[in-house]
């Protein structure tokens, strides 16, 4: 590890010297190829060496590290409880379970309705046969209370976290796929095409965000549901992040275009061009390692925005499809419950607390990442 700064310095020296070598001497082909190979190994080593330094810089930022730890432990808990929550998230307790306040003791529902529900689930049925717990009724974990339909908030909040993060990640990858490609192509082609492409981005900035999301969602619903074989719930979630990602790539396109434009002027790209590397090779081997930082930062910036957007769409009633929980939907449902009957605090406190915790942790992590990748900003 201790030798990495030296490696970087060595490779930088080589970059500086490289164009001079090609300008002054005309070496034979074999020698030239050797030189190129030599330089590429140097590029690789500097690329590998750069990332640990960024990582070390990130680790020095205590706030960012704490946020990352909080975020990963939340995800870990969500994953651990996933087998239980997929079973429980939509099970209702109608016997004193509706809007039941939080309690440490589990809530036992002995009504035939709960038992009937239980018998509808094949794996729960098997469970009954072995443990014979059917006599005791249905045991609900009510640590975080129950919602309007008597469902346990505890087993809804963890899958909700995963769904919200999934929508965020999906939207972020959409914005990488469209935005980074758009920006890079505009910058590399240049000229009139560049101008037209960036004008198009300007025009899209002028469209009201919410309108484009809704129209995209309406346009995509039928084709995507068909494509996914009529699985309406899955299609509903996928459409959501495609619609959000489809309108949040604009900033990414601008940033990547600027980065590629400035990278194009760098001496090492010039050197690669002089040594006869193709455009694709330059893009992949020389520019992409330098673009990875900004792409990652702006993609992670999209995640919290997408989660907020999804909560807004849930509030409109066009978020994730009905029984599926997402943090935004839980918060929106909670707000409705509080609006009409003041007092059901747990329906709003826990989902909103989780939402705020997730978004704050995400924002701090992103800030830390940005500082680590680009110390100038």
């Amino acid at each position: 590890m201790c030798c990495t700064p030296g490696l970087i310095r060595a490779s930088r020296l080589r970059y500086k010297r490289a164009p001079a070598v090609f300008a002054t001497s005309q070496p034979n082909r074999k020698q030239k190829r050797n030189k190129v190979n030599d330089r590429q190994t140097q590029t690789n080593s500097s690329k590998i060496a750069l990332q640990p330094t960024a990582w070390r810089r990130f680790c020095r930022n205590r706030c960012a590290v704490t946020s990352l730890a909080v975020l990963s432990s939340l995800i870990l808990v969500a994953l651990i409880t996933l087998p239980l929550s997929t079973r429980w998230y939509n099970v209702q307790s109608l016997d004193q379970g509706v809007r039941r306040p939080p309690a440490l003791a589990p809530h036992v529902d002995k009504t035939p309705f709960a038992l009937a529900l239980r018998q509808n689930e094949p794996d729960a049925h098997a469970d009954d046969a072995t443990s014979n717990r059917a006599d005791f009724g249905y045991e609900f974990t009510s640590w975080l209370g129950h919602d309007d339909l008597g469902r346990s908030v505890f087993y809804r909040i963890w899958p909700a976290l995963l769904i919200s993060l999934g929508i965020g990640l999906g939207a972020a990858s959409m914005s990488i796929a469209i935005g980074a490609t758009w920006g890079a192509v505009a910058a590399l082609v240049g000229g009139k095409v560049d101008m037209l492409m960036m004008r198009f981005v300007d025009v899209l900035y002028g469209l009201p965000y919410i309108l484009s999301v809704i129209l995209l969602k309406i346009a995509l619903t039928n084709p995507l549901t068909d494509l996914l074989g009529g699985q309406t719930r899955l299609a509903g979630v996928v459409i959501l992040f495609i619609a959000i990602g489809g309108v949040s790539w604009l900033t990414m396109a601008r940033v990547i275009r600027g980065q590629v434009l400035s990278l194009r002027e760098e001496p090492f790209v010039e050197a690669a061009q002089a040594s006869g590397a193709s455009m694709g090779r330059i893009l992949v081997r020389h520019m992409l390692p330098n673009l990875a930082g900004p792409i990652m930062v702006y993609a992670t910036l999209v995640i919290p925005q997408a989660i907020l957007q999804e909560s807004f769409l849930s509030f409109l009633g066009i978020g994730v499809p009905a029984p599926i929980p997402s943090l935004g939907r839980l918060a929106a449902d909670g707000v409705q419950a509080v609006n009409t009957f003041v007092g059901y605090w747990w329906l709003i406190a826990f989902p909103c607390g989780m939402l705020v915790l997730t978004l704050i942790a995400l924002n701090f992590t992103v800030d830390g990442l940005r500082d680590a990748v680009d110390p100038r900003s």
Binding site: R199, D202, V203, L204, Y205, G206, L207, P208, I210, L211, S212, I214, L215, I218, A219, N222, P304, L308, S311, F312, F315, L316, I318, G328, A331, A332, V335, V338, N339, V342, I348, C352, L355, V356, L359, I360, N363
Partner: protein, 306 residues
């Protein structure tokens, strides 16, 4: 100055035309027929008659008719609100949203800018962390949650404001405050970053060296430059705030313009979609031109460059 203004206005008009075309394309490609929203299908003759009434018998003539109407300031009839023209809807809702939006932007500047400056000058103290907390709440709580909290606190418990609706001045502050929170947070963040950037530069050191007192340095020398990014953010932000927010209008029961953006899209009402988009983009372009003019006034080097 004048040539720049003319050029900006020209490009603004081109941008609006492009936005109009794009919206039109989206509206006609999105599946769903505004004539088939109800359960019963109407007889073909009636549909044809309606299409003639709304100039929708073919796409191209609708495109031209709507555009020429819009240029003359007439957006035509609405589909879903069949007794209303789009002009009536917008002229009723826009002043309300504009009032709330302008007040929200004013609150955002009045709270956000000093917060950012204080956070930057008292870096890493309790002030900085307090500002950070405000920013984080503004960024990471959805408006429907903050709005509901404010409503419960000020309208239900303290009874300082009416619970909802519109009509008197007392209805104004709560929606404006709710709407301003994300803008406040963003402005505070921009100001803080800008101030930190400027405070490290050479001319500030010079000002300190010649014995300038700290308040003059912060507010007279540094702030003028740190405010420029905030200024360019204010253009689109004002346009956005003035065209209303669905959430704020729903939480506080305000009959503003934001609900029409959402409802027009959900009902696939072509006339209303295009007229709201045109209002928004015209406002956006106007605000951006205004910001450019202010920029040139604040930083004379810009005019020299343009």
């Amino acid at each position: 100055m004048m040539p720049m203004l003319v050029r900006r206005l020209f490009w603004g008009a081109v941008t609006i035309a492009c936005i109009y075309t794009l919206t039109f394309l989206m509206v006609i490609t999105v599946p769903g027929n505004p004539f088939r929203q109800s359960e019963r299908n109407m007889p073909p003759e009636a549909e044809r008659a309606l299409r003639v009434r709304y100039n929708m018998d073919d796409n191209w003539s609708y495109f031209v008719e709507f555009l020429s109407g819009a240029v003359r300031g007439d957006f035509g009839p609405s589909f879903t609100y069949s007794d209303w023209t789009c002009n009536q809807i917008i002229s009723e809702a826009f002043p309300i949203s504009a009032m709330i939006g302008l007040l929200a932007i004013l609150i955002a500047i009045v709270i956000g800018v000093p917060t950012g400056v204080i956070a930057a000058t008292k870096r890493d103290t309790a002030w900085d962390f307090g500002a950070l907390a405000l920013v984080l709440v503004g960024i990471s709580l959805p408006t429907f949650v903050t709005g509901t909290f404010l409503l419960i606190l000020f309208a239900v418990h303290l009874q300082w404001a009416p619970i909802g609706g519109w009509g008197t001045l007392a209805h104004l502050p709560l929606p404006a405050l709710t709407l301003s929170l994300p803008f406040t947070a963003y402005i505070a963040r921009l100001t803080r970053v800008g101030m930190l950037d400027v405070m490290g530069s050479d001319f500030i050191r010079t000002a300190r060296a010649k014995g300038c007192d700290e308040r003059t340095i912060v507010w007279k020398h540094a702030f003028k430059i740190a405010f420029l990014p905030v200024l360019s953010y204010l253009g689109p932000a004002t346009a956005q705030a003035m065209t209303g927010s669905f959430v704020v209008e729903k939480v506080f029961g305000v009959p503003g313009l934001g609900q029409h953006f959402v409802n027009a899209a959900l009902n696939l009402d072509p006339g209303l979609i295009m007229s709201t988009v045109l209002v928004f983009s015209a406002l956006l372009v106007a605000m951006n031109v205004a910001v450019d003019v202010l920029y040139a006034w604040a930083d004379p080097r810009i005019t020299a460059a343009v």
